[in-house]
């Protein structure tokens, strides 16, 4: 019996690597710390009522962002380990198996469990405030989306200590990811982790499309909407068309692995190339899904800190919508070298180049928003300043890659690695950081320390160029991606060393950001204006942090930069609009079902990963039960009485004025 337990444990837990034992210990200590802390301070009830069951979009957004930061740390450690391994030729820091797992988890975590939740977090905290709504269209669904994401992310991360991580790259190309070449459970963790969080992403897409189309404040025509909600709309349209492809593709891969089907196998009529096509039909829109909201954020910030209206509003809207649609027509540029023939390659090269046009237009519009403006360089604007040149260069290399015959030389090389990191770090990460710094005061009621923030910015920026510019050169020297090590004879070591130093600087930059947050909390200087940046849009018209119902009375919108115009009117001596009579506010009730249902999904996934039907089936039954219970729950909403609203308002405004 004891022997059986021992064999089981040695297969179930990942063993043999001191790094992983270290992680085991730190995970156990962290969990113990949290449990003891919560119990000691008697905070379990508070945690359950205020956070775990909340349907408030602001709190859900904060949880998304917090989770994204933790995942940024995990993915960042993966990146630093890889760079350490590549710092010099013939290094033995990581054995090939471990290296393969690390580049796989780095990619998956950074895109799906860092960028996506960071983006959803920003959607959540800002879209309702910017369009003058009191919550999203489907608050319950929103909470469910978050917890599904969280379950999926935890399931995926668990593979690190239990069962073994996936090692087939972030898109898991078969046949290598098939059962024939990859019999372990790592790939199943990959499938289920992404599937569960993917359902959440799809629901968020639907939720925000409806929110933006149906919940705007009176008078806010679509063409008077701020640019960020527009970018969210274009991104969500891409989500609802692309995520079903991902779900279907991974479901087929799962059937191949679990049920012996032959969709993507080599034998039995399967075709791995079909998988590669399908996964990029999702994968390419996906990168635009994450970058479009960053464009929206930059538009808001450029306009605010140049103190000038956004130039070419309509152009910006059309450009984003065109990008959103074109992103579905370019997927085959990820495998020009598959040998599809000149016709196919020419078509996809052209569609890819077309995307450069609207993207270029956006850059021009940002430049001309600053033209004849009054630019100040607070941290959100600083990130935007870092973004523009970085993204221009990244866009240039993107156009070079789109030239199909030349791509035969760039493909799979470090040139490609440098390109996509440049657009994703320079575009997406800088964008989300800019957004976080910009909206932080609205979320928490105080600004982050500017001085430390500037250090973080410069470390990130210099580190970025040091890390990735040499990688372009490495690509031209013939270095291919995903190699665990290389010889002295190739002449790659200088550039690799520089690149590793750059990565280290970015690691330090992250520490600066953590310090910045800790420092700012410790030396809290409350922002009492609710409008610390002299903002232009509705979110700045209410106190920070926003009360649970956001707007005591719904604003009536007459122009694009409503709050800016309102301030101008007040400056010109027009009286503030007469207070509207406060009415009871209809709000959604908290619900424990999303977190419970997501836990059942977690068990279902875990059961299928290990082929434990005794766990998977009860998990599915639990999911169904949660749906039923929710369907028959009619007690889902309540009204905040006028008295309470008045009390809350005078309490906040009392401090405010």
């Amino acid at each position: 019996m004891w022997e059986r337990v021992k064999t089981f444990a040695s297969e179930f837990f990942v063993t043999g690597d001191p790094l992983i034992y270290g992680a085991d210990v730190s995970i156990v200590i962290t969990i113990l710390g949290i449990v003891i802390g919560l119990t000691y301070f008697n905070k379990w009830g508070w945690l359950w009522r205020e956070w775990l069951t909340t349907v408030d979009h602001k709190k859900i957004g904060i949880m998304y962002i917090l989770a994204a930061f933790i995942m940024l740390f995990r993915g960042g450690v993966d990146a630093l380990l890889m760079r350490a391994q590549l710092a010099a030729p013939e290094m033995n820091l990581l054995p090939p198996d471990h290296y393969n797992q690390i580049f796989t988890t780095h990619g998956v975590i950074m895109i799906l469990f860092m960028a996506m939740p960071f983006m959803f977090g920003l959607f959540n905290v800002m879209v309702p405030l910017q369009i003058g709504a009191r919550d999203v269209a489907y608050p319950f669904l929103n909470a469910l989306s978050f917890w599904l994401f969280f379950s999926g992310a935890m399931l995926f991360n668990l593979s690190f200590v239990i069962g073994g991580s996936p090692d087939a790259g972030w898109l898991a190309y078969p046949p290598y990811s098939g059962i024939m070449h990859n019999p372990g459970v790592g790939q199943d963790f990959y499938i289920w982790g992404i599937q569960i969080s993917g359902i959440g992403s799809l629901m968020t897409g639907i939720n925000f499309i409806v929110t933006i189309l149906k919940m705007r404040a009176p008078g806010m025509k679509l063409m008077k909407m701020p640019m960020f909600p527009w970018s969210v709309l274009s991104s969500c349209i891409a989500i609802i068309f692309s995520f079903p492809i991902l779900t279907a593709t991974l479901a087929l891969l799962f059937l191949d692995r679990y049920a012996g089907a032959h969709f993507f196998t080599l034998d039995g009529g399967g075709n791995p190339m079909m998988y590669i096509n399908l996964i990029w039909m999702w994968g390419h829109p996906e990168v635009y899904i994450i970058v479009l909201p960053a464009f929206g954020i930059f538009s808001e910030i450029v306009s605010t800190f140049a103190k000038k209206k956004l130039f070419g509003y309509k152009s910006m809207v059309y450009a984003m919508m065109i990008i959103s649609i074109l992103s579905f027509l370019v997927w085959a540029h990820h495998f020009f070298t598959m040998g599809s023939g000149a016709d196919v390659n020419a078509f996809f090269a052209l569609t890819t180049m077309l995307i450069a046009i609207p993207t270029g237009v956006k850059v021009f519009n940002w430049l001309f928003t600053m033209f004849r403006g009054k630019i100040t360089f607070e941290t959100p604007m600083l990130w935007t300043m870092g973004f523009i040149p970085c993204f221009i260069v990244g866009g240039l290399t993107g156009v070079l890659l789109s030239v199909a015959p030349a791509d035969f030389q760039f493909h799979n090389s470090y040139f490609l690695v440098a390109h996509f990191h440049q657009v994703i770090i320079g575009g997406v990460v800088f964008g989300y950081f800019a957004g976080l710094y910009y909206w932080w005061p609205k979320l928490f009621g105080f600004k982050l320390n500017e001085r430390i923030g500037k250090w973080a910015f410069w470390f990130w920026n210099i580190g970025f160029y040091l890390c990735f510019m040499p990688q372009y050169a490495l690509g031209l020297m013939g270095m291919t991606r995903r190699v665990v090590t290389y010889g002295w004879d190739k002449g790659w070591w200088e550039m690799n060393l520089v690149s590793t130093i750059g990565a280290g600087l970015m690691g330090i930059a992250f520490l600066f950001q953590v310090w910045q947050i800790v420092y700012s909390v410790k030396h809290l200087r409350k922002d009492e204006t609710g409008d610390p940046w002299n903002g232009r849009t509705l979110e700045w018209s209410i106190p920070s942090p926003a009360p649970v119902y956001n707007f005591a009375t719904l604003p009536h919108v007459t122009s694009q930069d409503e709050w800016w115009e309102e301030k101008q009117r007040r400056l010109q001596g027009h009286p503030a609009p007469a207070p509207v009579k406060i009415e009871p506010i209809h709000m959604p009730k908290n619900s424990g079902i999303p977190i419970v249902m997501s836990m059942f999904w977690f068990f279902t996934g875990f059961g299928f990963i290990f082929d434990w039907l005794w766990l998977a089936i009860p998990g599915l039954v639990g999911v169904a039960a949660c749906m039923l219970v929710h369907s028959f729950n009619y007690d889902t909403d309540y009204y905040i009485p006028v008295e309470e609203i008045k009390r809350t308002e005078s309490a906040i405004r009392g401090v405010t004025s």
Partner: protein, 302 residues
């Protein structure tokens, strides 16, 4: 306050310049920009042309960005104009929808032309009869068969200069990509199909190739040497291999397929139709409709 900021900008810009300089300092290592064959050469030219074309837009935009940010920064005693409500100019917007459209159109025409011209399966124009080399990606080594010469090698190719080489590429392993940077772009090596890639070396020399697509544990050991020699030297090498190397048998091939890296090896002969067999291995008619699992079962019973 303003001065250190200016200095910072200067510092970061000069940092970029230094990087560029160091990058150009090692151009001889950038083998892709130092091609040794007609395909790689045209691909290099195409890279430089497209770089130049995109730079026509990119460089002025970067300069414009620097000027605008510098000129319109908020400071005391500023004389530059401030127009908070200026938000539209049809003329300007037509210009910057127009410029990228023109550049992209030019680039598109060039790209399409070259996409057809450099289509890898197209034979190269040459008076010489092409030499065929059959490439199989295995876990984690390359098997090269010379059907016309009747020899085979592992992780080593020797080719005669100025003779077009017709590579037929497949895999008996997860998908890989066959790449000799100095001769030309890569082509996926996929099980169940034979891809064609035409390359040629214009001069004698030692080059190298690699497996460019991740295939698992020892994927990083799939480099191979490529030696381009005179025709005479090539023929001598073939006869030497024929005379002194062992033959590759079917059993030998089965051993080769087992996952492991390998040193350079040469074979004086290989089983007839081995490449074709590898390519058609998974076609169900050849397995009598049996799946991989069924075959495994039969193998075990045997």
């Amino acid at each position: 306050m303003k001065l250190p900021k200016a200095r910072r900008w200067f510092a970061s810009l000069s940092m970029l310049l230094i990087l560029l300089l160091t990058a150009t300092g090692c151009t001889e290592k950038m083998i892709i920009l130092n091609p040794k064959g007609p395909i790689a050469e045209q691909q290099r030219d195409l890279m430089l042309t497209s770089l130049l074309l995109t730079c026509i837009v990119i460089v002025p935009v970067l300069i414009l960005f620097a000027i605008i940010v510098w000129r319109y920064r908020d400071r005391k005693g500023r004389t530059s104009k401030y127009t908070p409500n200026w938000e539209h100019s049809t003329k300007l917007e037509v210009i910057w929808w127009g410029i990228p459209i023109i550049i992209i159109t030019i680039l598109a025409v060039i790209t399409v032309k070259y996409t057809y011209a450099l289509e890898p399966s197209k034979p190269l124009a040459s008076e010489e009869k092409p030499l065929t080399i059959q490439v199989t990606s295995l876990d984690w080594k390359w098997l090269f068969q010379y059907p016309e010469q009747g020899i085979a090698t592992i992780n080593y190719i020797q080719i005669p200069e100025d003779v077009p080489i017709r590579f037929e590429i497949t895999a008996d392993s997860p998908m890989n990509s066959f790449w000799i940077p100095q001769l030309g772009g890569q082509m996926y090596a996929m099980s169940g199909m034979a891809m064609t890639l035409h390359l040629q070396a214009d001069e004698q020399g030692d080059f190298w190739g690699s497996g460019a697509n991740f295939t698992g544990k020892d994927f990083a050991k799939m480099y191979f040497d490529v030696k381009s020699t005179s025709k005479e030297a090539f023929n001598t090498w073939v006869s030497e291999v024929k005379a002194s190397s062992p033959a590759l048998t079917l059993d030998g091939y089965k051993k080769l397929v087992e996952p492991a890296a390998s040193d350079v090896r040469t074979f004086s002969a290989f089983p007839e139709g081995l490449f074709e067999m590898t390519v058609t291995k998974y076609a169900s008619s050849h397995n009598h409709g049996l799946s991989w699992k069924d075959i495994q079962k039969i193998d075990k019973q045997e």
